[in-house]
Symmetry: D2
Subunit: 369 residues, 4 copies
């Protein structure tokens, strides 16, 4: 299926390996006339960057995005926007261990099963670096959405057993800690927890949450391309995500219908408005005008320094302990990827839905407009 | 996006409304030479049927599938397989309530927001009857998979707070109770629970689980079209599903890396095999040869007889209580839909992956074969 | 590639075999709010019908279209429109000849090569009856276009060596003769020619021409999905079409640049307008506001009563003469199919192009609209 | 429709503008295990290069292709192959004329109509340089096909009124003249003709022909994705192509059925073989095992030094004469683009068709293989 393309109208194609010449993305279908510059991209890419955090890879990545096409005189032209990040560190290295042994929790074994061999350098295409292209494309989508008054924000909801306290929730607080957690106390607690995890040569997982505000009602297609279904695919396609929930999610399965249904009332302007939002902003796969809320459960980093059982390509059992710089937790760096994927999904569905009504075709193609 | 098509190689397009002339599906891309008859389809459709269960709509649906094309002399020809079910009960009725009031938990409001108006008869396109086409198509996909030694089975894992006990798990038991629950004791308990729910004019949700056995390693595309991502979309596209988990799912977010990673050992034939299956049979988005396991959390039936707050199309607040025959729980009837969607997803990815290796092209197109 | 679907936004999926239970189409992505009834479909289907013409199959087809979904209270709902025509004549018959011998000029041999066997009844899926679904879908697209002031008209330009004379061209005249030729004198001449062809047990080909008026400038995508490229695929996908030309077509290859270029002048309103239309209404793959003009060259009917050399499935040489009712020329019945495919192509590109500018997104999703 | 992607299985996405930072392509879906290096790409790109020909742009392009991903240790990995060519000459220039006036025969006017503004530097995205990405991708497809014994070759059939003589046809001769014409005498005559055209400040068109040998019977989908329909789209999507013909093409419209049908005989091995090839290797949209033959009619270069009437963006009539280095004819440089597009089309359909038979699925996924 040539699965490196996402979206049908706002179509994103990523390429690149962890330790190849570079990574990049082509965004096809971006509307013309959007102000866009490399700074818009870089800003988002930098949120993927480990920075000084001790819970993120110490390696100085310094990924610099270059826009190669599709932007002219500061605005998008409607033609493909190619963006790329060259890998600065490609020096030959000893990948011996990874090359021959299947790392538990990684895609080494399955790439071999699928393709017959693989680019083993740093995980190749299954590396977390693959998300660079997603984030660069997401930056463009986020900019389009912002112009339309739609805002997407993801943050860390929990790290291992430490979850934020809804009473203390403060969105701006996420910028004040290394974990992008909008609760200062929980962030501090999670940092301690992570130090212990690292001391034990182990790793942790967590949950990212994302909220989309300002999305008009009516976005999403009613059957297979439901907004929540498309978001689920987008988010589950991020490596390490093991579960997706919208609105009350799993808890809805235990609730009574009377508690789970969101009644309607009138807003100030005499329009229908949901009283509660258990549904997470989506009814029948279509946005209902309230905030869209979803979560992604992320597994612990598979690369750990503890010894694990494994086997080699040529069929010998062998233990492996993965040393080197690895984040003890993926969640904080995944947050911006979740945000990017959400933006790509919503924008793609908005573009696809522009022909939903005859009246809308007339607004674009009608003689009177 | 014209969202009534699922799949790219094994492409399924459904149509039809709850109370229109009928519902159906076109399956395009089915390999030629598969033995197929209407009985194969009917068998699966009957599992959607309420039957004598008191927890399912008493209305006698009696949906009968007709194959209209694509099968000749008992075998598929490789051309589109059109299947349809005519609605037997289309008599004019009083939909007054539904027509004007937005039912909480339903898609009435969002259809109006998207299209400007809607077919209000029994929910129209957002009715559960839309899944008839999915199940008919799924029956074809399941048959292809079975021919290749791949078996898909979904069942009820929990109803409200009552979950099956893994110690008592017995897959065959699912055929012995109305809830398709592979644990006789839990099923009995759940039935009592549902009677209470009904007495309270309320409804319940639950969790469906699905297991795919026999799937070879190597199925799924590494980036956006990961096997788990595609399954997530397929399953979240079923109305009422609010969460999707693969393998340990949400629990993985709280586990330590050392506990969550599945080590490798050798199987009897000297081949790599995972020791455990926390991953749910998928690594890096590609099947790893162990059983694929995932779950869908399903919300309580939104149609309840209790009074709820709502508003009318023309902007008046009004209470609504939904009478008539409605299942107090959707899960048992959704189980076969989950199974169908899983089969469609897996087969589509298998077809898409046939060109993954030059060696495989040679097997089909090479002169020596 | 599961090739029975056309279009990405206005997505049409056809099904059905010549002598199976029926043929049909699902149209997904039609905007909501279009007035539509079965009469709209039937009108176009009847133009495919042989009627009393002696140059068309005498068999009384009487194809009656039924709309099964997607229309409610006389308007499209935005959900899939399923339409079908049941075959009235399915009685078992002697297909012996066709079953075993590969008819020259037909797809018998290639279907066997691709699928391993085929539905040999009347050509199965490769029959001209497959176009029923195209025409029904085209009727919907034509209606959408008409609402936007865009008109598509195809007609017979030549039959064998007899071409219409541009000086005598009169579009309305096409309704007065059996060949849909907008030139009474040429039509008469062509009828005589065809009588001779029939007397010789042979067949003839010809050229269909199509003109699209009222299409605004700006439709079509600049690289692979050029308007002319998409029209070419649409038209070449009609069985028996062997060449496609846009504007001056083949003649452009012999012209000088100075003669082939269309200069610009100002129209009455001070807007740019092409002085000539050698380009056929398309520049760089995008409509330029003048009439879009293209032609399809159609081969002679392959079914002829003359004896031809052939071989059987099991590898024996054998002569074949095809008796029965076969049109001596396909062009007149293909004209409406060309019209349908043109409408499907143009509408699909118009829907896809709605997101070409930020300004257009604001018109649909902006708060001020 | 975000039209910069071609193909569904072997999916090619091009990007880049004539005078931007560069141009490139991402090839997704290439089978793993194909030997590939930059030399393979460069070889084909060099055929696009003007070289020393006086009939091609004198500008020294020196386009150098870089492979950025998807190839490891000399073989494709199955992941996206990104290739790019940096523009060496981006210095600021006076594009004043082009910026404000709509060049006749160019896409200036239609880009403005579609997007509201355009990158006017050297034609931007509508420049012939856009084909660099197509040719690079085509080089990969051609390599895959060659491994399977399938060979694609395009050449110049005619320039203006000078056509090659079938009696003198010698394929190898195409490498001996600047026009890629497999007939030395015709090439010489065409060169004289072009010198006259240049002296008159005018330009010429011509016809490219392409032959595909070794393609097995059974490639192509029977309805919308017919092999000839897909080739037509591929070829008509090349700028300046105004007509497409397969086999006898337009001539078939004038032929009698008895002359146009290709009878069958047995080949040496007792297999069915067509006696003639009027059909051009395709029956019912599916390859029939004989050589696939098609032609593209290419219009004269629109950039000419003669004065032409035009208008400016702000609505003033103004004459324009285009000076600078422009090829008097596009055909010789387009030949390799036709070859590339043919390869992309055929390979994509071959990959899509791998699931046509249950037997073929078993060859890949069956336990016994």
């Amino acid at each position: 299926m040539a699965g490196s393309t996402f979206g049908s109208q706002f179509r994103v194609t990523t390429w690149g390996e962890s330790h190849g010449k570079g990574l990049g993305v082509v965004v096809d279908g971006c509307p013309a006339g959007l102000p866009l510059c490399e700074e818009d991209i870089q800003k988002l890419l930098d949120r993927r960057k480990p920075g000084g955090s001790k819970f993120a890879t110490q390696r100085r990545e310094g990924d610099v995005a270059e826009i190669l096409s599709g932007v002219f005189e500061g605005k998008t032209t409607g033609t493909p926007i190619a963006m790329e990040v060259r890998n600065t560190d490609q020096r030959s290295r000893d990948y011996g261990g990874i090359k021959e042994i299947y790392r538990p929790g990684h895609a080494d074994f399955t790439f071999d099963a699928k393709y017959g061999f693989r680019d083993y350098r740093g995980g190749g295409r299954s590396s977390g670096r693959e998300t660079l292209g997603r984030v660069a494309a997401g930056a463009v989508a986020l900019k389009v959405l912002e112009e339309l008054g739609i805002f997407v924000r993801a943050y860390t909801k929990s790290i291992g057993p430490i979850a934020l306290d809804p009473e203390r929730f403060d969105l701006e607080e996420m910028w004040n800690n290394r974990l992008y957690m909008p609760d200062a106390a929980a962030a501090k607690e999670a940092e301690s927890f992570l130090e212990n995890v690292m001391a034990e040569k182990d790793s942790a997982g967590g949950v990212a949450e994302c909220v989309i505000r300002g999305l008009p009602a009516g976005v999403g297609e009613p059957v297979f391309d439901k907004l929540d279904a498309c978001l689920a695919k987008a988010v589950m396609s991020i490596g390490a995500v093991k579960a997706f929930e919208v609105g009350d999610g799993l808890a809805a399965a235990k609730a009574a219908g009377s508690a789970n249904n969101d009644g309607f009332c009138l807003d100030g302007q005499g329009k229908a408005k949901k009283i509660t939002n258990h549904a997470g902003g989506i009814l029948g796969g279509i946005s209902d005008g309230s905030a869209v809320v979803f979560r992604a459960a992320i597994k612990p980093t598979p690369s750990i320094a503890l010894r694990q059982r494994s086997v080699t390509r040529d069929g010998k059992e062998k233990e492996i302990a993965i040393h080197g710089r690895h984040d003890p937790v993926i969640v904080p760096r995944a947050v911006v990827v979740v945000e990017a994927m959400a933006a790509l999904t919503v924008l793609d569905l908005m573009l696809a839905g522009m022909g939903s009504r005859m009246e809308w075709l007339r607004r674009i193609y009608g003689k009177e407009y």
